[in-house]
């Protein structure tokens, strides 16, 4: 994953537009993404913190084999010109003492166009909540798993 793209960019272009909003949080279409210092997480906030935010993580250090195909329609919506402009994060939930991440619905950001979309991957519908442990080996479930039944 290219680490060269700075999601924060300039103040003017601080926000990402989710033209379709996020499932479950349909009211808000704009979010900014900020790194949480000292750990691999990011927080995605609504303007003026007017509503709930989401915790995100870069899934690739945790699940090195994680990959998916971005469909033509999604590429158009995100106005993808170069693959390097894209950044993929997944949402994180805290349940008791365990962290989980949702590999079935990654959030794809076009850092240049400031557009974003949560993509739903039917072939990974069994990975809506995958335990998130320290990065690196041993390989965990949900890593290098080729798509199967849709």
């Amino acid at each position: 994953m290219p680490a060269t793209v700075d999601l924060k960019d300039t103040e003017v272009k601080k926000y990402f537009l989710f033209p379709r909003g996020l499932p479950g949080l349909e009211g808000e279409k704009r979010y900014c993404v900020e790194a949480i210092p000292g750990n691999p997480f990011f927080v995605m906030l609504q303007p003026a913190e007017s509503g709930p935010g989401l915790i995100l993580v870069d899934p690739f250090p945790f699940f090195p084999g994680y990959c998916f195909e971005l469909e033509e329609g999604d590429r158009r919506e995100l106005q993808v010109e170069k693959e390097e402009d894209l950044v993929v994060y997944t949402t994180v939930t805290i349940e008791g003492r365990q962290l989980y991440t949702n590999l079935a619905a990654p959030v794809v950001f076009n850092a240049v166009k400031r557009l974003a979309k949560q993509i739903i991957l039917p072939e990974r519908s069994d990975q809506l909540r995958v335990p998130l442990g320290p990065p690196g080996p041993p390989e965990r479930d949900g890593g290098a798993k080729p798509g199967k039944e849709s």
Binding site: L22, P23, G24, L25, I36, G38, N39, P40, F41, V43, P52, G53, L54, I55, E71, E72, G73, D74, R76, T91, V92, T93, I94, E95, R97, Q98, L99, N102, A104, A105, Q118, I120, P122, S125, L128, R129, P131, L132, G133, P134, R140
Partner: protein, 77 residues
């Protein structure tokens, strides 16, 4: 809502390039075949609902970001 009655083998056409065909009826289950452009996402409604629920859970979790680093150090139980 538009309601149509179809028999197995019969289809419904939506717009220019979406065809929904009833393949078979087995007890309470109906097998449906969908022909649509690749760009058009098609998924079970339950999956969208599950993503909604997961996002709402993630939104609640965002209220306690201070727990993240601590929990990550602990290998998943």
């Amino acid at each position: 809502m538009l309601v149509l009655t179809r028999k197995p083998g019969e289809s419904i056409v939506i717009g220019d390039d979406i065809v929904i065909k009833v393949l078979s009826v087995e007890g309470e289950s109906i097998r449906i075949g969908i022909t649509a452009p690749r760009a058009l996402p098609v998924y079970r409604q339950e999956l969208l609902e599950a993503v909604r629920q997961e996002n709402l859970r993630a939104a609640l979790s965002a209220e306690q970001p201070e727990k993240l680093a601590e929990l990550l150090k602990k290998p998943g139980e």
